[in-house]
C-alpha cells in the first residue's frame, strides 16, 4: 500500500520541501558486501573442498583470482548444490537464464525433440483462447467479488507436481518420467561425461536469454548451480572455461544470430563463419540492474548517466561495429555540460556502422559520433573494423549503406541529424525510467484521456471482475506510462520464479502467470522494477478467503496484465478506449511510437 501511495501521490515529497516534516537522521551501518547473502545458504566448507577436488575446478588456477573474490569464495557463495529426485525439473524451455549447472553425480535429460514438452506439463498455462460462447458467458459468469478462484485449480492436474523444499523454496517435477522418455526425444548428460561438457545453461545465464530446452533429473542427481555472477568471474579468470563457453556459443548460436541480423543477412555462409570467429563478446553493466534501479530513479540525470557504464565514447577511434545481443544501450551526444539522449538501442540493433562505412568509403578517420552507454545490463557482439571492411561493407546492399557523416547544422543541435521523431525529453524519460524495456507498454495520452475508466472496466471484465492494471503511473508531458505489465524484452520478473509459473507464452510472447502453479512467493513482484505485479489474496466463489491448510493464512497469487492472451480480440484496455487515448506500444519500434505520439 505504501509503495502504491508513493507512486500515485507526491504530496509527501512536496510537504517535505515545505518543511512540514522533520528530517530524519541517518543510521550508520556497514556497507553491504557482495557475499552478505550467499546463493546457497547450506554450502559448507566440506562441500567447497569436494568441488575443488574435482574437474573442472581442480584445473582452475586459484592464484589468478583477486583477493576480494577468491575461487574458494566464489564456490562458497555463488554456488549451491541441488539434490534432485526423479523427474525434478532443472530448467524449462523459455525460462530466463540466471545460472548454469554442473552435473556432480547422476544424470539429467535434455528434451531435444521440438517443440518440447507441453506447457501444462511444465506448470505453465496452456495456450487456449476462449471461444465466442465462453467470451460471451463472461457477461454473467464473471464474479462480483475480487480475486475469485476456482477451488479445483488448487488440486494437481497429475502431469506436474509441486514440492515444497524448505520454507520459501519449491520445486516442480514431472509425474510420469518413463512416458516422457518414451514419447519425447531426450539427450542424457551425466557426471564426468565430458571435461567441461557437463556444464549446461551457461549461454542463457551469461547472455540473459531464454533457455532453449527443458532439462530434468533422471533418478537421484546432484547438480552444482552457479549463479551468473560467479560464472562471470570464473569465465574471466579461467582461460579454458572462457574458451569453452565462447566456443559453445560460437558453434551453437552465433552464426544463426548473425544471420538474423539485417547487417549480415546478405553474407555467404563462409563469410558469416569468418565474422563469427573474429567476433568479440562484451558485457557491460549489472545483470541485476533492477535492484539498484529503484534508487537510481530518484537521482539526478547527471548521476544516473555517470552510473551507466560507458561502452563507446564520442570522439574516440571507432574500433568496430557493435551489435546488441541482449539488454539496452543509450546513444547520446555531448550537449552543454551533459549528454543528450538521441536514441536507445535494443536487441539486434547496431552501433558504429555509420562511422565504419564513412571511413571505408572516404579513407578518412571519423571518430564515434555518439557515446554509447549500457542501460542496466547489455551483452553485445563487437565485430572489429577490419572484419567489417573485409566481409560486410563490400557486399552491403545499397539501401543498407549508411549516409556519409556530415557536420551537424546548428539547427540539428545535439541530435546531430539523428531524428527518431520523438522529442528529446520524451526519449530521456523513456530511457531513464527504463520503459524502453517494454514490448507492450501502456501509454496513455492524458490530453485525450477523459478518466472514464472504460479501460479499467474492460480489463476487469476480461479477468473475472478484477482489473490487472492501475490507470496511474509516471508521466512526461501529456503522456503517462500506466502501471500495467509491459511484457518486457528483458523480463526480470521471470528470474527466480521457483515453479516457472511466470513465463513467456510460447506462441505469442506475452509474459503470463499460471495461476495454478503460482505459489505466492512474491519473487516476481519484488523483481519487477516497475511495480506492475500485484500480490492478491484468493477467494472462493462465496467470498471466503482460500487458506493455507498449514498456516491458515490466505493463499496469495501474483497477478498482472496478461495482454488478454486468452481473449478473442486482444488487449481489452486498448480496444475499450473511446478516445484513442490508450495504446500498447512496442518500445523497440520507435517509428510506430513516434507516429502515435505525433498523430
Amino acid at each position: 500500500m505504501n509503495r502504491e501511495r508513493a507512486k500515485e501521490w507526491s504530496h509527501a515529497d512536496r510537504r517535505k520541501s515545505c518543511g512540514l516534516e522533520s528530517s530524519r537522521l541517518g543510521i550508520e551501518v556497514r556497507r553491504p558486501q557482495r557475499w552478505d547473502v550467499s546463493f546457497g545458504r547450506e554450502m559448507s566448507e566440506a562441500d567447497v573442498d569436494r568441488l575443488l577436488a574435482r574437474p573442472p575446478f581442480c584445473h582452475i588456477d586459484a592464484s589468478r583470482f583477486p583477493e576480494a573474490t577468491p575461487l574458494r569464495g566464489i564456490l562458497r557463495n555463488d554456488t549451491r548444490i541441488l539434490r534432485l529426485k526423479e523427474g525434478d525439473i532443472v530448467v524449462r524451455e523459455g525460462d530466463w537464464g540466471q545460472s548454469a549447472f554442473f552435473v556432480l553425480s547422476g544424470a539429467v535429460r535434455i528434451v531435444i525433440s521440438p517443440p518440447g514438452l507441453p506447457a501444462g506439463m511444465l506448470g505453465r498455462r496452456e495456450a487456449d483462447r476462449k471461444g465466442w460462447f465462453q467470451s460471451l458467458a463472461q457477461l454473467w459468469r464473471n464474479s462480483e467479488l475480487p480475486e475469485v478462484r476456482d477451488i479445483a485449480q488448487f488440486r494437481s492436474d497429475g502431469r506436474v507436481g509441486v514440492r515444497q523444499e524448505g520454507e520459501d523454496e519449491a520445486r516442480i517435477f514431472l509425474e510420469d518420467v518413463p512416458t516422457i522418455l518414451e514419447k519425447y526425444e531426450t539427450r542424457r548428460l551425466y557426471a564426468g561425461q565430458v571435461k567441461e561438457g557437463d556444464l549446461f545453461g551457461e549461454i542463457a545465464a551469461l547472455g540473459r536469454t531464454e533457455r532453449t530446452a527443458t532439462v530434468f533429473a533422471e533418478g537421484e542427481t546432484e547438480l552444482l548451480e552457479i549463479r551468473w555472477q560467479g560464472l562471470r568471474e570464473l569465465r574471466r579468470r579461467d582461460d579454458a572455461l572462457r574458451d569453452h563457453i565462447d566456443k559453445v556459443y560460437r558453434e551453437r548460436s552465433l552464426a544463426v544470430q548473425l544471420r538474423h541480423t539485417p547487417l549480415f543477412a546478405h553474407l555467404s555462409d563462409e563469410a558469416i563463419l569468418n565474422v563469427a570467429v573474429q567476433t568479440v563478446f562484451e558485457t557491460y553493466g549489472e545483470y541485476d540492474w533492477y535492484g539498484s534501479f529503484k534508487e537510481m530513479v530518484s537521482e539526478d540525470a547527471g548521476t544516473r548517466l555517470e552510473r551507466e557504464p560507458l561502452i563507446a565514447d564520442e570522439g574516440h577511434y571507432p574500433n568496430g561495429v557493435k551489435v546488441i545481443r541482449s539488454g539496452f544501450a543509450r546513444m547520446s551526444r555531448q550537449f552543454g555540460n551533459g549528454h543528450r539522449t538521441v536514441n536507445y538501442l535494443g536487441r539486434g540493433q547496431v552501433y558504429g556502422l555509420q562511422e565504419a562505412a564513412h571511413n571505408w568509403r572516404t579513407g578518412q578517420q571519423a571518430a564515434w559520433q555518439y557515446s554509447l552507454r549500457a542501460i542496466g545490463h547489455v551483452h553485445m557482439l563487437c565485430i572489429p573494423t577490419a572484419v567489417i571492411e573485409e566481409f560486410v561493407l563490400p557486399t552491403l546492399p545499397a539501401d543498407q549503406m549508411p549516409a556519409l557523416i556530415a557536420a551537424p547544422s546548428p539547427t540539428e543541435g545535439a541530435a546531430g541529424g539523428y531524428d527518431t521523431g520523438i522529442a528529446p525529453g520524451m526519449l530521456e524519460f523513456l530511457a531513464d525510467r527504463r520503459f524502453i524495456n517494454g514490448k507492450a507498454t501502456m501509454l496513455i495520452d492524458m490530453d485525450r484521456c477523459t478518466r472514464c475508466d472504460d479501460c479499467v472496466r474492460a480489463c476487469a471484465e476480461a479477468h473475472d471482475g478484477s482489473p490487472r492494471f492501475i490507470r496511474h503511473g509516471a508521466r512526461h508531458g501529456r503522456f503517462m506510462v500506466a502501471n500495467a505489465c509491459m511484457h518486457c524484452a528483458d523480463p526480470v520478473c521471470m528470474i527466480g520464479c521457483p515453479t516457472g509459473a511466470i513465463h513467456r507464452d510460447r506462441y505469442r510472447g506475452q509474459v503470463v502467470i499460471n495461476d495454478a502453479t503460482c505459489i505466492g512467493c512474491s519473487t516476481c513482484a519484488n523483481n519487477c522494477p516497475y511495480h506492475n505485479i500485484r500480490m492478491v489474496e484468493a477467494r472462493d466463489r462465496n467470498g471466503q478467503f482460500i487458506l493455507d491448510e498449514h498456516t491458515h493464512w490466505p493463499i496469495q497469487k501474483a497477478t498482472k496484465c496478461d495482454l488478454c492472451v486468452d481473449q478473442l480480440g486482444g488487449p481489452a484496455c486498448q480496444r475499450a478506449c473511446p478516445h484513442d487515448a490508450l495504446k500498447r506500444v512496442d518500445m523497440s519500434d520507435l517509428q510506430s511510437l513516434a507516429s502515435w505520439i505525433n498523430r
Binding site: S10, C449, D454, R575, H579
Partner: protein, 274 residues
C-alpha cells in the same frame, strides 16, 4: 492519413451522404404521395436504437467487436444523422401535443448532452492533465481527508507551540469549510482562479500579524491550500467527465420509450404507409 483524421473524414462523409440520401428519399416519397413521416419516424427510431449499441459494445469489451473509438465515431455519425432525419420527420415544426412535446424535448436533450459530453472530453481532458496531481477520482476523498488532517495538525501545533490562537481562529473562520469538502466546483468548471486568489489573499493579510514561528506554519497552510484547490479542480473536472453520462444515458432510454409510445400511437391512428 492517421487513424483520427481518417475516422473524422469517414464520419463527416457518412453524415453528408446520409443527409443527401434522407433528403432525396423524402422528396421522392413526397412526389409519390407516400406518407413519408411513418418511414422517417421508423428510420429515426432505428437510428436512435442503433446509436445505443455503443453502450452494448462497452458492456462486452472482451468480444472482438472492433475498437470503441470506431464505435464512438459511428455513434456520433448516427447521432448527428438523426438530426437530419428528425428535421425531415417533423418538417421543422415544434410539436404541440404533450407526448410529442416530451418526445421532442427529450430528443434535443439527448443531442445536447451528447454534444456537451463530446465537448467536455475535448476541452477538459487536457486541462486536467496540466493542473494538480492526476489522482484517481475514487481516491480524491481519501486524499482530501489527508490534507484536512495535515492542516488541522499544523493549526493545533501552532496553537500549542506559539501560544496564540490567531491561526486557529483564522482556520475556523476561513479554512475549516474549505478543507472539509469539495469547494468552488463551479469556479473550477469555468476555469476561474478567483476563489483561490481570495483565499490566498486572506492568508497574506494574516501574515503581518504573526511572529516568525507562526509564519512558518502559515507557509505550510498556504501550500496545503494550493494542493487542496488543485484537488478540487481535479474533482470538478473529473466529476463533469464522469457524470454527464448519467444524464445522457437515462435520457436516451427515456427517448426510446417515448419514441416507442409515439410510434405505436401514430401507427394506430394512421392509415398506413400509402
Amino acid at each position: 492519413m492517421t487513424g483520427v483524421r481518417l475516422r473524422r473524414s469517414v464520419g463527416l462523409t457518412a453524415v453528408g451522404v446520409l443527409t443527401v440520401g434522407a433528403v432525396a428519399l423524402h422528396n421522392a416519397g413526397a412526389v409519390a404521395l407516400y406518407q413519408i413521416s411513418l418511414a422517417t419516424g421508423a428510420l429515426l427510431f432505428v437510428m436512435i436504437v442503433t446509436a445505443t449499441l455503443l453502450n452494448v459494445r462497452k458492456k462486452a469489451p472482451f468480444l472482438p467487436l472492433g475498437n470503441t473509438t470506431d464505435w464512438l465515431t459511428f455513434h456520433m455519425v448516427v447521432g448527428l444523422g438523426t438530426v437530419v432525419v428528425y428535421a425531415i420527420h417533423t418538417g421543422g415544426r415544434w410539436p404541440d401535443g404533450i407526448l410529442e412535446f416530451a418526445l421532442a424535448a427529450t430528443y434535443w436533450s439527448v443531442i445536447a448532452t451528447g454534444m456537451a459530453g463530446w465537448a467536455f472530453s475535448r476541452w477538459l481532458a487536457p486541462r486536467l492533465a496540466r493542473r494538480g496531481e492526476n489522482v484517481l477520482f475514487e481516491r480524491i476523498g481519501r486524499f482530501r481527508a489527508q490534507l484536512r488532517a495535515e492542516a488541522e495538525t499544523l493549526v493545533l501545533r501552532a496553537a500549542s507551540e506559539q501560544g496564540s490562537t490567531t491561526i486557529p481562529d483564522f482556520y475556523a473562520a476561513h479554512l475549516a469549510d474549505f478543507f472539509d469538502r469539495p469547494r468552488h466546483l463551479v469556479s473550477h468548471a469555468v476555469e476561474s482562479d478567483h476563489p483561490r486568489h481570495v483565499l490566498l489573499g486572506e492568508v497574506e493579510l494574516l501574515r503581518r500579524y504573526l511572529n516568525a514561528g507562526e509564519r512558518g506554519v502559515l507557509d505550510g497552510l498556504r501550500e496545503l491550500i494550493c494542493l487542496k484547490d488543485d484537488l478540487d479542480y481535479q474533482y470538478s473536472g473529473q466529476a463533469i467527465l464522469k457524470y454527464w453520462l448519467f444524464v445522457h444515458i437515462p435520457l436516451t432510454y427515456a427517448l426510446i420509450l417515448l419514441g416507442l409510445v409515439h410510434g405505436i400511437t401514430s401507427g394506430a391512428f394512421s392509415g398506413g404507409l400509402l
